[in-house]
Symmetry: C2
Subunit: 219 residues, 2 copies
């Protein structure tokens, strides 16, 4: 595997190309930091975009869902997908309306996939999904039964092409606007975890584990 | 305009249909709460999903960008889009791995659109985009020049079909799992704004306006 995806018509960042990146050192950390992805696919010429959880194993994106899922069936049939992840880092407040923007990190991945059939690989994939939600959970929760495993479809999509697009830092205004008496800067966004809410049906005496109490989204 | 979108093959929530909603009273607040959207479209049979800012005017989604944008050109040519917005509300920690989930609010919108040509409507659209980022900004920042207006393409996509899908509340475990000594509940997520970062080139003496200092993302 190369450490940079070739620029092609499909993955090339056309608008503001200076914000485009093609190296996995930039792309994969964004994939891993995003909790969800938006998967685009084509059915009868019509575009669909579905929100789902993902996990990354090396150069492959794992998706999962119930048997009968339209998206997973599409992938199983060899259909192409475009997988996009976006992290918002803040609002960019320029002196001019025109240069307002957001700071963000986004990736766009392309590929076709296949169902994972091997039972050991399927269990490893489910562990990856669970540990992505909150590290430490797989060992603590009840593991999947044979029936639950049977109800779950897992697909692997090797990343055939990809790019990242990022914006960071202060606004870029027109030279003549810097003298305007308008406040300019960045309003940063953070996603944080609030206090855990115990299930009303939680068995008495079950303490909250450290890996949940100390979980830091920004970690 | 109806206040509920008809269920069709295109917008019907197939998986977990009890989480599906078709009324604008559910759908539009999610559209308005999402800062960004993921727009899917088809070019030469290939799916693309682009992240962009949006604004809603009544039953229409506004998108904007630079002249020459592939997405905007596609819409200008009458091409279909699927616009998906997703808000993450928390991680759902069930006793079993199988019932882990996230709490979320998502919408999927379908339609075709057209470029807005009328200058007054274009200015109103830019005001809507700016006020969505941070209310109060349009009157404070420098308004678009004729040249900047010329460089910006704005399209309107009337919402032809739509659905929302939501999950909230505690985990739903198998009856026999409630006795397990596993902590279960929800880890809520919040997106918050941090302290504003002034542009290093900010003109001395320009105070931060109240509408930025007091901005609350959760508002």
């Amino acid at each position: 595997m190369t450490d940079t995806f070739p620029k092609t018509a499909r993955n090339k960042v056309k608008r503001l190309p200076e914000r485009g990146h093609y190296d996995i050192a930039t792309i994969y950390p964004i994939v891993d930091a995003a909790l969800i992805c938006h998967v685009g696919f084509v059915l009868d010429g019509q575009p669909f975009v579905i929100t789902t959880l993902h996990a990354r194993q090396g150069d492959t994106i794992l998706l999962h869902g119930a048997k009968g899922s339209r998206l997973l069936h599409h992938i199983q049939s060899g259909g192409e997908v475009c997988i996009t992840m976006t992290l918002i880092d803040g609002i960019v407040l320029a002196r001019s309306v025109f240069h307002h923007s957001i700071n963000y990190r986004s990736v766009v991945l392309f590929g076709t996939g296949a169902v994972i059939a091997d039972e050991q690989a399927r269990l490893q994939a489910l562990e990856a999904f669970t540990e992505r939600l909150i590290p430490g959970r797989w060992q603590d929760a009840r593991q999947p039964s044979a029936l639950e495993l049977k109800q779950t479809t897992i697909v692997a999509v090797p990343i055939a092409s990809a790019s990242a697009k990022l914006r960071s830092g202060p606004p870029g205004d027109e030279a003549e606007d810097y003298d305007l008496p308008v406040w300019a800067g960045v309003l940063p966004f953070h996603q944080i975890a609030g206090a855990p809410l115990a299930d009303p049906q939680l068995r008495p005496g079950v303490e909250i584990p450290d890996y949940i109490r100390d979980f830091d989204l920004r970690g």
